[in-house]
């Protein structure tokens, strides 16, 4: 996977996707990108090339499931929604993110 300068920090993409799906219900990939960008006030930009591999991996890990649906523009889109396993995964990723940021914060403060 190619790296790019405004790539989201490795490992946080799944956290963001899970959180998005948890708060907004079933969404297609494009909406997930737009949502993350909007909510983060354009500070975070999802690398579009890496979103779909991530979605598929998460699907195969059983965190999310997908089905074909129709959008308001009458286009066929694949809609992703959170599974129970995904909810658990989200909780643990939120917790570890909190620990990470807390750790980083302390280092920045005292080191």
């Amino acid at each position: 996977m190619g790296k790019s300068k405004n790539d989201i920090l490795q490992g946080t993409l799944s956290l963001l996707v899970l959180k998005t799906l948890a708060s907004r219900g079933p969404m297609h990939g494009y909406a997930i990108t737009s949502h993350i960008q909007q909510v983060s006030s354009e500070m975070l930009r999802v690398e579009e090339g890496s979103l779909y591999p991530a979605l598929h991996r998460m699907e195969q890990d059983g965190w999310i499931c997908a089905e074909w649906g129709v959008t308001e523009k009458n286009r066929q889109a694949r809609l992703y929604s959170l599974t129970a396993a995904g909810r658990k995964q989200l909780a643990s990723e939120v917790e570890s993110w909190a620990r990470l940021t807390e750790g980083v914060r302390r280092v920045l403060r005292y080191a």
Binding site: G29, H56, Q60, D61
Partner: protein, 897 residues
């Protein structure tokens, strides 16, 4: 992601990728919409959308993931890593690969033979439609009159043909015989088989009529070797048994007849027997059994219908072909003969019948050897895994999953087995050829197609994969269960290593000992049988004896008098200084030829048909002296025993005992029943020691010898083959060229063939020798592997327990106690292995009972000897590690780490 899912993805990849295409297309469409809404032109929006997405195709590839691509990447990584790991321990890799290569190679070699002999289909069209016609208990060999009746009356087969299975054509007009395998075939032979000509034409029905001109079709291989693939060979003549045959064509390449193991080089029509054998030919003989009959079934006709059709034909056919010379009772039995059929898609073969049990036995033996080799490598891997505990612990600590570790280690073991399999294939090519040369009698080579076909390759790949996973799985699984905490800490001092860790290794050693014992007992029984056969007193002394088979072509218009020819030959060779004794006979011992007659002896009544049969031979004077069979009573034949004089015979001890219940039959008489006629009486003038007749294995047969001078077939031009036996003086050799010159001087049209008697005897034991040699070799290999396994486990164990042993010694344990401790450990393993192996052997050796001679499958001496041998070798293997353990210096051992 699980392997199964990943594999599923591979197969589903089309659906998957079209799903993905749609999804990505949707994404692009949405992005383009937004960009256009923001004011870009459509074209600019498309380009921008694509740009933001990055490499569209690349994304697809990534998304399909981890799926296939990264899986292959990981495989390549695993392979690279495995190679590096193996390069770091070349000793381990070498031992593992060599022992597996031997195992896999041996399996492939034997399987190649089984494939060639039993599984390969004939190179003809629709071989699955071919069935062999037999006559129930009367066997599968037909007379020409029966064949002609069958050919003319049957309607159940789509086609039917006959051929002679074992013809040898002599290519040289006279002098030393140059024999090739040939076959007399019915006219429609090639047409029914669907064999095409490579050149010229093949035979047809119009070539196979009485009085036919002598024509021949060559096999492609023979045409290449004999005529250098010269198209001008068509129309030339070739000399077969001194008769000129015109070559009409060459059969398609690869077709060498139906007899597996024999490369038929020349095909001539059945009617040509009139030319080859003259007035003596078998075309109208109702008691000459020489033809094999094969039919091609029509697609919609079941075997049941064919059997029914043949059953309704049988009475008429056997009525019309009843041998008139047979007795009334025999004729009645003959008329009741019925037909049967059996499928023959792989061709027909004497060697298949002869060697099937031997090959299957060998297959089991080599499979067991492979099992031992696998156990050995598994053991090595276990020891290695223990050494690599730290490495693996670190990888687990760094986040490698258990599945990943197992996979990595399995890649290593499969890599080992694949390299071993490649080496094994080379060994197998060489080994299977060696085996065939082993099986082939020197005079009559066996031809088998030993090229690897898909079946053989598939077999060895399957064996390699199975062994790789088989020996690798347990060690890999155990390694992956490592607890990084414990493993990394364990480098600190542990005083007493737990025993649990090696229980698998010990179990493997037990298995090795058990299986080795089975193999060694089997080998011991086969070797013992062979030794008994090879050293048994056959009743003659084959060394220094030269056998010369002489045959004369029939001479149209006048009789060939083989008797006067043989008398002249004897007169001249007996004058040679290097000849100690010389004789002629119809049959030589162990030559697979026999002649028996129904005996009529006063005071004797036969309990069964075979009980009243004696075996015959016609011999000249000095026959017994030449072969080294002692004359026990009475006299040898002499000049007085002439045609027309009183009929005389010499009998062996078994004959005297069986028919006369005496040890001195000289002076008694017997007669011989030929059909409804009696021949004789023969008066017994001498008694000779028992000697083997057809095989070394046989119970000595009751044998009667009559003088060549009184054998009416030899003088009357009926029998044109005779054997000459020469015993050389005091180990000297008889010069073949001068001998040949003498023979051709007597009659220039003689064909002669020289064989050492000793070679003929050895050839008769080749199956036994093959089994004994190979089982001995594999038994030794098994012993070696098991010893290595035992040594490896013990050495490793002693090395691991250095600390513990050091402490024991420091606390006052004597060298002796330490040695005893290690040896006790061995004894438990070996004893368990021996007990299990004994049970295994007792269960299995009865399957080789038919190969044994003079030994029961449960022969106590062999079994006891094998167990002692194995135990002895095991203790020897244990001695070195035990001694090393006893020399552990406590100071050094404790200071370490």
């Amino acid at each position: 992601m699980s392997w199964s899912r990943r594999l599923l993805n591979l197969f589903r990849s089309n659906r998957h990728s079209s799903d993905l295409d749609r999804e990505l297309a949707f994404h692009l469409a949405e992005r383009i919409d937004d960009l256009e809404a923001a004011g870009l032109s459509h074209e600019a929006a498309v380009i921008e959308a694509r740009r933001r997405f990055g490499n569209y195709g690349g994304t697809k590839e990534h998304t399909r993931d981890a799926d296939v691509v990264s899986w292959l990447d990981a495989l390549a990584d695993d392979l690279r890593f495995a190679l590096r790991a193996l390069r770091h321990s070349p000793g381990f890799a070498l031992v593992a690969i060599l022992s597996l290569a031997l195992g896999i190679g041996a399996n492939t070699a034997i399987f190649t033979l089984i494939d060639a002999v039993m599984l390969r289909s004939l190179p003809v069209s629709h071989p699955e439609e071919l069935v062999q016609v037999t006559m129930g208990e009367r066997g599968p060999v037909f007379t020409n009159p029966i064949w002609e009746q069958l050919r003319d009356h049957q309607t159940v087969f789509a086609g039917i043909f006959a051929y002679s299975a074992f013809n040898r054509f002599n290519l040289s007009p006279s002098g030393e015989v140059r024999a090739v395998a040939g076959s007399l075939v019915s006219g429609n032979y090639f047409a029914v088989l669907g064999v095409q000509p490579a050149l010229g034409r093949l035979l047809s029905n119009s070539d196979d009529v009485r009085g036919c001109p002598p024509l021949a079709v060559l096999s492609d291989a023979f045409w290449r070797s004999e005529f250098g693939a010269d198209p001008a060979a068509i129309g030339k003549t070739i000399t077969l048994n001194s008769h000129a045959f015109r070559i009409v064509g060459v059969a398609q390449s690869g077709f060498t007849g139906l007899e597996v193991g024999q490369a038929t080089s020349i095909f001539a029509p059945i009617c040509a027997d009139a030319v080859l054998s003259g007035p003596n030919n078998a075309l109208d003989r109702r008691s000459s059994w020489w033809l094999t009959v094969v039919g091609r079934t029509a697609p919609d006709v079941s075997l049941e219908r064919i059997r029914a059709g043949l059953a309704s034909l049988a009475p008429g056919i056997f009525e019309a072909t009843t041998p008139l010379s047979a007795g009334a009772e025999q004729q009645q039995r003959y008329r009741k003969t019925t037909f049967d059929v059996k499928p023959a898609p792989n061709g027909l073969s004497l060697i298949r019948r002869q060697y099937r049990p031997a090959l299957l036995t060998l297959m089991v033996i080599v499979a067991l050897v492979l099992l031992i080799a696998c156990a050995n490598v598994a053991n090595l891997l276990l020891a290695r895994a223990a050494v690599r505990r730290r490495e693996i612990a670190i990888r687990v600590a760094l986040g490698a999953s258990r599945g990943r570790i197992v996979r990595q280690l399995l890649t290593e073991s499969v890599l080992l087995s694949v390299v071993a399999a490649l080496l094994g294939l080379v060994l197998a090519q060489w080994g299977s050829r060696l085996l065939v040369s082993f099986l082939s009698p020197s005079s009559d080579p066996i031809f088998l197609n030993l090229a690897f076909d898909r079946r053989v390759l598939g077999f060895s790949i399957a064996v390699a994969m199975l062994t790789g996973i088989g020996f690798g799985l347990a060690p890999a699984w155990r390694s992956a269960r490592v607890q990084p905490n414990a493993a990394l800490k364990a480098n600190a001092r542990g005083v007493v290593e737990g025993q649990r860790g090696l229980s698998l290794g010990k179990a493997l050693v037990v298995v090795q000992v058990a299986v080795s014992l089975t193999l060694i007992i089997g080998a011991g029984l086969l070797l013992g049988s062979f030794k008994k056969l090879a050293t048994l007193d056959p009743g003659f002394r084959p060394s220094d004896v030269l056998l010369v088979s002489m045959s004369h072509p029939p001479r149209p218009g006048s009789n060939v008098d083989m008797r006067s020819i043989s008398e002249e030959v004897l007169r001249r060779v007996r004058a040679l200084p290097e000849v100690a004794a010389a004789s002629v006979s119809q049959i030589t011992p162990l030559s697979n030829t026999s002649w028996n007659e129904d005996m009529v002896v006063d005071g004797f009544s036969a309990k069964s048909e075979m009980d009243g049969v004696a075996y015959f031979n016609a011999v000249s004077d000095d026959y017994f002296r030449t072969l080294g069979t002692p004359l026990l009573a009475g006299r040898d034949f002499n000049q007085g025993d002439r045609l027309g004089g009183a009929k005389v015979a010499i009998v062996n001890e078994t004959m005297a005992r069986h028919f006369y219940k005496t040890t001195d039959p000289v002076g008694r008489t017997f007669r011989v029943r030929v059909g409804d006629r009696m021949e004789g009486p023969f008066q017994i003038v001498g008694l000779v020691k028992d000697a083997k007749y057809q095989t070394l294995r046989e119970e000595t047969l009751a044998t009667a010898f009559i003088p060549v001078a009184q054998d009416t077939t030899i003088g009357g031009g009926l029998n044109l083959d005779l054997n000459l036996e020469l015993r050389a003086t005091g180990g000297g050799a008889i010069a073949l060229p001068s001998l040949k010159k003498i023979l051709l001087d007597v009659d220039p049209s003689l064909s002669v063939k020289f064989t050492r008697f000793a070679t003929q005897v050895e050839d008769s034991l080749r199956r036994e020798r093959l089994l004994a040699t190979l089982s001995g070799f594999f038994g030794a290999l098994a012993l070696l592997l098991a010893t290595m396994g035992l040594y490896g486990v013990l050495s490793y164990n002693v090395a691991r327990r250095r600390n513990e042993i050091g402490i024991r010694v420091a606390l006052g344990a004597g060298r002796r106690q330490v040695t005893t401790m290690v040896l006790a450990e061995v004894s438990v393993m070996v004893c368990m292995g021996l007990v299990i192996g004994l049970g295994l052997a007792l269960g299995m050796t009865r399957f080789i009972a038919s190969f044994l001679f003079g030994l029961a499958p449960t022969d106590a001496a062999t079994i006891g000897g094998s167990m002692a041998l194995l135990a002895g070798v095991a203790l020897f293997a244990a001695y070195l590690p035990a001694r090393r353990a006893s020399r552990v210096d406590p100071m050094e051992a404790l200071r370490e780490d």
